[in-house]
């Protein structure tokens, strides 16, 4: 077994925040995930009568007190998800103020304020005489990240990655690098995306949306389910977190990225690109496959993705692949697109912190062509944590349109 890495530059996750179809806050997320409760169902964001499918994982309305903190004419819905998640993560990390600290922000988003942009465009096409330009104010994918930086007074580097479904994980990789290099002391990393017509109709045009809630890695899977939300992780050196009296929830130990360079939408069928990203993440973490105690898979539920991803696990993890429990957060909260890597990172950290792997969605027989140990129905307990024992790590994968792949390795910390 690989020994646990030591040293002052272990990068700690000192706080997390999340907004998803399961509700506002990481407690709501964990409560739903650990119960295997899917947030995917009917939705009301827009009239979907003329769309091919009719399910999504929509974020519920915030309660009154929270809603008051998210007022702002120029804020998009995705901005609000990002702000709520960042506020929660900073509070959990015991960082009520960032004054005097060197802080960077690393975000992922695929559609940013597209939902509001659609409303503007609809008005424009309808010849509406009084167009609301404020709808476009935060329309670009950098809108949510910039909104967080503005709200919390960040003066360090701020960057948004928009590499489709790998955006959030790539942003976390950038944050890891920024902490290790000493460029910043604190990194706020995550992503946000909201449900909108263009992604809903677009994925339907590819016939890659399941008419039922998605069923990752199941034999009858027919596609993904679109979700929305935001997720944020606070990263800092372990040394710094402990000096502030904050015990890490987990460690971000490694990141890797690659590209299939194969096709705009179809994954390379043998999973070679995704395997390269996983291997790079393990190498970066200084860990071998034997350290991985579970995988939070990209697991969209599309026939091609899940098959190629399984092959990537086999290539990168070897014989160990069949023995490692695998779960898919998307089965419960849907596909958060540019934010999916971030919310799955939060889910992975919560699994490590709670010592159990959340179940995947229900959905029939596991695909017999895959030798996968899918976590079904109820949480799977992780082995007992031994402070001086071998490393217990988890892998989270994100595989995007255009063949962009990203993998993250998180290590378990001494339970809080």
């Amino acid at each position: 077994m690989t020994e646990r890495a030591e040293g002052p530059w272990r990068v700690a996750v000192s706080g997390v925040g999340a907004v998803s179809g399961l509700g506002w806050g990481s407690d709501a997320l964990w409560s739903g995930l650990s119960a295997g409760r899917a947030a995917i169902g009917n939705f009301i964001r827009f009239d979907h009568a003329h769309h091919r499918t009719h399910v999504a994982a929509e974020v519920p309305e915030p309660d009154g007190a929270l809603a008051k903190t998210l007022l702002g004419r120029r804020l998009s819905l995705a901005d609000k998800f990002a702000l709520a998640a960042a506020g929660e993560a900073l509070a959990q990390a015991d960082l009520p103020s960032l004054g005097g600290l060197s802080v960077g922000l690393y975000f992922g988003s695929s559609t940013g304020g597209m939902w509001e942009g659609e409303a503007f465009f609809a008005d424009l096409l309808a010849g509406e005489p009084r167009l609301r330009a404020s709808l476009l104010a935060s329309q670009q994918p950098n809108g949510p990240g910039d909104a967080v930086a503005r709200k919390f007074g960040i003066e360090g580097p701020v960057e948004t990655v928009s590499s489709a479904c790998a955006s959030g994980a790539l942003a976390l990789g950038a944050a890891l690098e920024a902490i290790r290099s000493g460029e910043v002391e604190i990194a706020i990393a995550g992503g946000a995306d909201s449900l909108c017509q263009i992604t809903y109709a677009g994925f339907n045009s590819l016939r890659s949306v399941d008419e039922q809630p998605c069923r990752p890695f199941r034999a009858g899977r027919e596609g993904l389910s679109i979700g929305e939300g935001g997720a944020v992780l606070i990263l800092e050196s372990e040394e710094r977190a402990l000096a502030r009296g904050v015990r890490p929830l987990a460690y971000l130990a490694g990141a890797g990225a690659s590209c299939d360079a194969h096709h705009m939408t179809a994954p390379e069928p043998q999973g070679s690109g995704a395997a390269a990203a996983i291997s790079a993440a393990l190498l970066d973490a200084g860990l071998g496959p034997e350290a991985i105690v579970f995988v939070n898979a990209h697991g969209t539920g599309t026939p091609l993705n899940d098959a190629a991803e399984w092959r990537a696990f086999e290539r990168a993890l070897g014989d160990r692949a069949r023995a490692i429990p695998v779960t898919s957060t998307k089965g419960l909260v849907g596909h958060l697109l540019g934010s999916s890597g971030a919310i799955e990172a939060v889910a992975t950290v919560l699994c490590l912190a709670h010592g159990e792997v959340h179940p995947s969605s229900a959905g029939g027989e596991v695909d017999p062509d895959l030798g996968i140990d899918l976590v079904l129905d109820s949480p799977r307990r992780l082995g007992a944590f031994a402070p001086r024992g071998p490393s217990m790590a988890a892998l989270s994968t994100s595989l995007a349109f255009g063949g962009a792949n990203a993998a993250l390795v998180f290590e378990r910390a001494d339970p809080r």
Binding site: G156, E159, S162, A174, G403
Partner: protein, 429 residues
């Protein structure tokens, strides 16, 4: 870290020769934007832009390949292939490619792609929205959808050039192109990639042009000077009469690699990437520039120190000043704060020629580092006493040792890049 290849498509043609001539002449090549869709306000509104989509992209991109690409993807792939060819990277069949065919390269051997854009493939997004809103959601085209994502150009580069390293698209408005170079350089410097293809690609559609105009971002010409044909519309960096920027489209891609790698394979470095810095101005509203110049300057200096550099080591500035009223004010404040009131080195402000977006600014920064001659600053005629800064007047300048390229974005982001000239630099990349 060196740049061994540069490719581009702009209003000035393929490559950078046309741009270099325009910078020397100090005259932008503007054309009328199509306003027939009725997206623009009735007058007064902006009418002009620097268009690249009229350029023929052959022989770099054949029609059979191009039919599967959005406009910015076509521009990006064309620029990437030019850059790879210039860097001397071709496979045994003579096709330009970042990597050899076969299995994924080993750790650290792949080629990363880091590309910036601000608005994504706008025309395809618009087509898709029209299908969804005016026809039926089921009429949405899968082709438009797959090519309307922001990372389509970067992905198409990877597919066309067989680049299997990290594939990253950054979206940080006007700071994006420099940020893309910085992130690509970091991929190579860290050993995660052997090479990186970095740059920017953007298309300028009538819809996007109208959006920018509605926010007052584009020059409409000083009040009273505008004629019916767009006369008076001009980017006026640092000028007292500035009233907005010129929108542009195009693509620029560079090849980055370690200097020893480049020399070992016989490539000729064009310039070095010597350092970079990023910061954010939280005083900025989402669609404009803020007033946090001194804090941004501290971020710039802190970043330079990480690379063993300081403002005093810079002998040329290629400013991202675009003619934006608040943007140029912030730029002047950052520079004067960073130099602590000392005399600034000569300042080139090429966006009067390149316009904003599309990577023309990146190409200009590289040309400056190579000692290309710059004429008088296009659009500048009258100093703004509030800024206390006069851009280049066209007199001959020696080849600089280190160039600082600046990128302050509306919304708050900022990135700076330091390029170092090579001892025997190619004067014309």
């Amino acid at each position: 870290m060196v740049i061994t290849g540069c490719g581009g498509v702009s209003a000035y043609g393929l490559g950078t020769e046309g741009l270099e001539a325009a910078l020397q002449e100090g005259r932008p090549r503007l054309s009328e934007i199509d306003r027939s869709a009725g997206y623009h306000h009735a007058d007064p509104s902006a009418r002009l832009a620097l268009r690249a989509s009229t350029q023929s992209l052959t022989p770099w991109l054949q029609p059979g390949e191009a039919r599967r690409m959005s406009p910015p993807s076509k521009l990006a792939v064309t620029a990437a292939r030019q850059a790879l060819a210039m860097a001397g990277l071709a496979d045994p069949e003579g096709r330009v490619a970042a990597e050899a065919e076969g299995d994924s390269p080993g750790p650290g051997q792949a080629t990363a792609v880091v590309l910036a854009n601000s608005f994504g493939p706008s025309s395809f997004t618009e087509h898709l929205m029209r299908q969804i809103l005016l026809e039926n959601p089921e009429a949405a085209s899968p082709f438009y959808f797959t090519e309307c994502v922001a990372n389509a150009p970067a992905a198409q580069i990877a597919i066309a050039a067989r680049a299997r390293g990290a594939n990253i698209t950054v979206v940080q408005r006007e700071a994006g192109p420099l940020l893309a170079v910085a992130k690509g350089a970091a991929e190579v410097a860290s050993g995660r990639a052997r090479r990186a293809l970095v740059g920017a690609a953007e298309e300028m559609t009538p819809l996007l042009h109208s959006f920018l105009d509605r926010f007052g971002a584009l020059s409409r010409g000083p009040r009273g000077s505008r004629g019916a044909d767009g006369e008076g519309e001009s980017a006026r960096p640092f000028d007292r009469r500035r009233d907005g920027f010129l929108a542009a489209e195009g693509a620029v891609v560079w090849v980055l690699e370690r200097e020893d790698d480049a020399l070992e394979r016989g490539a000729r470095p064009i310039a070095r990437v010597a350092g970079w810095a990023s910061a954010f101005d939280p005083t900025a509203p989402p669609t404009d520039w803020g007033h946090g110049g001194p804090a941004l300057a501290r971020g710039l200096v802190r970043g330079l120190i990480r690379f063993g550099l300081a403002p005093a080591a810079i002998d040329r500035i290629v400013s991202g000043a675009s003619g934006a009223v608040a943007g140029d004010r912030l730029e002047a404040s950052v520079l004067s704060s960073a130099w602590e009131g000392e005399t600034l080195p000569p300042i080139l402000a090429p966006k009067g020629v390149t316009g904003e977006y599309g990577g023309g600014f990146l190409a200009s920064a590289l040309l400056a580092a190579c000692g290309a001659p710059f004429g008088p600053t296009a659009g500048f005629a009258e100093a703004d006493p509030e800024l206390g800064l006069i851009p280049h007047d066209g007199r001959p300048l020696a080849t600089p040792r280190r160039v600082l390229a600046t990128g302050l974005a509306a919304g708050g982001a900022a990135t700076w890049l330091v390029l170092e000239s090579m001892p025997e630099s190619m004067a014309n990349p």
